[in-house]
Amino acid sequence: MMNCKEATQLLSEKLDRPLDTKEKVMLGVHTAMCSSCKQFGRQMEDIRSLAKQYSKGKQTEEKK
C-alpha cells in the first residue's frame, strides 16, 4: 500500500514527468481513500497555475 509520503511525491512528480500505469493506479487507489492527499493533488495544480500567473503578469489582478 502506498502511504501519503509516497503519494504526495508522485502528485508532485506528475507535474514533471508522465506517471506510468502502475503509479497511476496506486495513486488513484490512495487518493480515493485519502482526502488529505486528494486535496494536496489539487493544490499542486493550484501552485503551478499560481506560479504561472505570478511570472506571466499577474493580469488577473487587473481584470476586476
Partner: protein, 211 residues
Amino acid sequence: MIEANPSLSASEAPNAALFYDQEFMESLRSQMVKFATLQVQDAQLAEDAVQEAMLSAYQNIDKFGRQAALKTWVFSILKNKLIDLLRKEKRTTVASQLENGPNLQGDALMDHLFKENGHWQKSERPQKWDDPDHGVENEHFWRVFDACLTALPEKYGRFFMMREFLEMATPEICHNEDISVSSLNVTLYRARLRLRECLEDNWYQAKESGS
C-alpha cells in the same frame, strides 16, 4: 543607461517616465539582480543580464502599453536572457553546495510533515483552499506568495523557479545543472511541499481564522 538615450523623452512614451523614477528603478533593479543571481549563480553575469534586460525594455518601451505591469514585462525580458545564459553555459555549480539555509528542508522537513509510517501528521494535513481565483485578485495574496518563495531554501527556490517561472523542461535543467532526474524531482517535490505549507499557514488558514 538612461542618459545614454536622451532622445527618447518621457512625453513620447509615457511609460518611459517610470525609468526616471529613481526609487522605483532601484527597487526593481535589486529585485531583478536577486532573481538573476539565484538562477545563474554568478554576480557579474546576473548584473549584466539585468542591465541588458533594462536597456532592452527601455528601448522598446513604446511597444509596451500598460504601465502597471512594467515590472512584469521587464522581468519577462530578463527571464529570456537568463534562459539563454543557462543554456549557453553548462553550469559548473555543484547543486549540493547549495543545500544550506536556515529553513526546514531535507529529512527534517519530511519528519515535520509525515509520521514514521509515511502518513500525514495530523496538524499538517492539507486543508481545503478557497478557489485561488478569489485570492489571486488580491494584492496581499501576492505579497504572501512572494514571501513564501523567498523563504524557500536557496536550492529549492532556484530549481522551482527554473521549472515553474522559466518553464524549463526537466531534462534541460538536469543537463545544465548536472543533477539526476530523480534528484531534481525530489528537490521540486520538497520545494512544493514547503511552498504549499507556507501558503496554507500564511494565507488560506490565516484568512479563515481572521474573518
